[in-house]
């Protein structure tokens, strides 16, 4: 962000759409990636709902950039939970979310055999993280992608900081193991 966050926030409170767009561009990528890990194919919808909630109440928000980031991901997590609850109540044909989530990756990289660490695209990286156990994937995403510290992640996930630290470390170890296995599978 070229402009400081407090100035953008003040202008957003006054209804300046360009200031809000600057905030949106700053946080939308990490928000979307977080939701791709946690909400999978509903990431776009949940992100829209999240920004709608933020827009409705941003005039009452008072805090620094870190607080805003934590608030944004807190709202996103709640909207994702609401989304899955409403989806659970709605009768639908069960679809494997892994298949839906991997469709875009498959189209972007038609040859999965070439997926190595050096050629990992963003989507592939997110797919690997999304394949982690949900709590581990969320902890890794909030720490590494959202850029939040352990305390804020613990507050968002409703866990203790020590538990969040363990979840993130386990997630990274799992990723490291899978990367090694994948590399061994690719390299004869």
């Amino acid at each position: 962000m070229g402009t400081s966050f407090p100035e953008l926030l003040a202008r957003t409170r006054d209804g300046d759409p360009s200031a809000f767009a600057a905030i949106w561009r700053e946080y939308q990528p990490s928000l979307l990636r977080y939701l791709r890990v946690t909400a999978r194919d509903a990431a776009e919808d949940v992100a829209s709902e999240t920004w709608a909630s933020v827009t409705a109440t941003i005039t009452r928000f008072d805090g620094n950039e870190t607080a805003f980031r934590a608030w944004l991901f807190t709202v996103a997590r709640r909207r994702a939970i609401d989304h899955f609850r409403s989806e659970a109540r709605r009768p639908s044909v069960p679809v494997d979310p892994v298949i839906l989530g991997g469709a875009e990756v498959a189209s972007a990289d038609p040859d999965p055999g070439d997926v190595t660490v050096s050629t990992l695209a963003l989507e592939s990286a997110l797919e690997l993280i999304a394949a982690l156990p949900p709590a581990q994937g969320e902890a890794v995403t909030l720490r590494a992608i959202a850029g939040l510290d352990v305390v804020h992640v613990a507050a968002i996930m409703g866990k203790r900081p020590g538990a969040v630290r363990v979840l993130a470390h386990r997630g990274l170890r799992t990723l490291a193991r899978r990367l090694t296995e994948e590399e061994r599978a690719v390299t004869p």
Partner: protein, 269 residues
């Protein structure tokens, strides 16, 4: 042997390295064995793609709409609530005022309306007035005195004073003959003598305040009536003969004097 050299066993990820990786440390600073993992994490947290920022204009437009909707309806709701409140207040106050003028309110409320509206010069019957004969209600004057009657006691803030004032004013509205009967009835009502003592004081105070200005007929009647209850004041008003007669009636602290001196003087000159 060769295969083991190419693919060494993956070392365990220590917490310090994991924390550095999660904090976004450069890949070059990570142990070589975990650089692939560091690269994965760095790519996941990499710069935004065009596809991720495609909805920027839409988001800004939605923000404008939401911001406008968040500010506009509030004013509308507030104005509707205000208008409803004002309408209800007007309806209730108007209905209460009409009922008060017609004497249709319950006793205590009617008395309160009688005293409150009397201050602003609106003739509202009190409790005792409702029981009086309409032909004798106005007493010696027109309807204006009845207002004045009610206003003078109402200036006393204590309920007992107000009640006693009404009782004291009731003879004003009635004839002299009825005056002789009303004060004892006030004593029958159970008002303690102290209330009778207080009312005259109030009446006397109001007399001194209302004597010099042109108080009107009703005020004179009230004043004399209050003096009648106090019994000790000199009636400076020339038109207070009948109330002066009632002074004797309400004079004694005993509630029912056997033979009021003033009345006895009239009966047996």
């Amino acid at each position: 042997m060769f295969r083991n050299r190419v693919r060494p066993p993956t070392p365990s990820l220590d917490e310090a390295t994991a924390e550095r990786m999660l904090d976004g440390a450069p890949i070059e600073e990570l142990p070589e064995a975990f650089r692939p993992l560091g690269l994965l994490v760095a790519r996941a947290a990499g710069p935004a793609t065009d596809g991720e920022l495609a909805g920027s204009a839409t988001a800004a437009a939605e923000f404008v709409a939401a911001h406008h909707a968040a500010t506009a309806p509030r004013r509308r709701v507030r104005s509707v609530a205000t208008s409803v409140f004002v309408t209800l207040t007007l309806a209730v106050s108007t209905g209460t005022a009409v009922a008060a003028v017609q004497g249709a309110l319950p006793g205590p409320i009617q008395q309160v309306a009688h005293e409150a509206l009397g201050v602003v010069g609106i003739a509202v019957p009190g409790i005792n007035r409702q029981n009086d004969d309409p032909t004798t209600e106005n007493g010696p004057g027109d309807s204006a005195p009845s207002v004045g009657v009610s206003t003078t006691p109402s200036s006393t803030s204590t309920p007992t004073g107000a009640r006693g004032g009404v009782v004291a004013t009731t003879p004003n509205g009635a004839d002299g003959t009825s005056n002789g009967a009303e004060p004892p009835s006030s004593g029958d009502a159970g008002t303690p003598p102290s209330e009778h003592d207080a009312n005259p004081n109030v009446g006397a105070g109001s007399n001194s305040g209302q004597g010099n200005p042109t108080p009107g007929d009703g005020n004179q009647g009230v004043d004399s009536g209050d003096r009648g209850s106090s019994g000790g004041d000199q009636p400076s008003d020339p038109g207070s003969n009948l109330p002066t007669q009632s002074n004797g009636n309400g004079n004694g602290p005993p509630q029912v004097p056997p033979v009021p001196p003033g009345l006895a003087r009239q009966i047996n000159p």
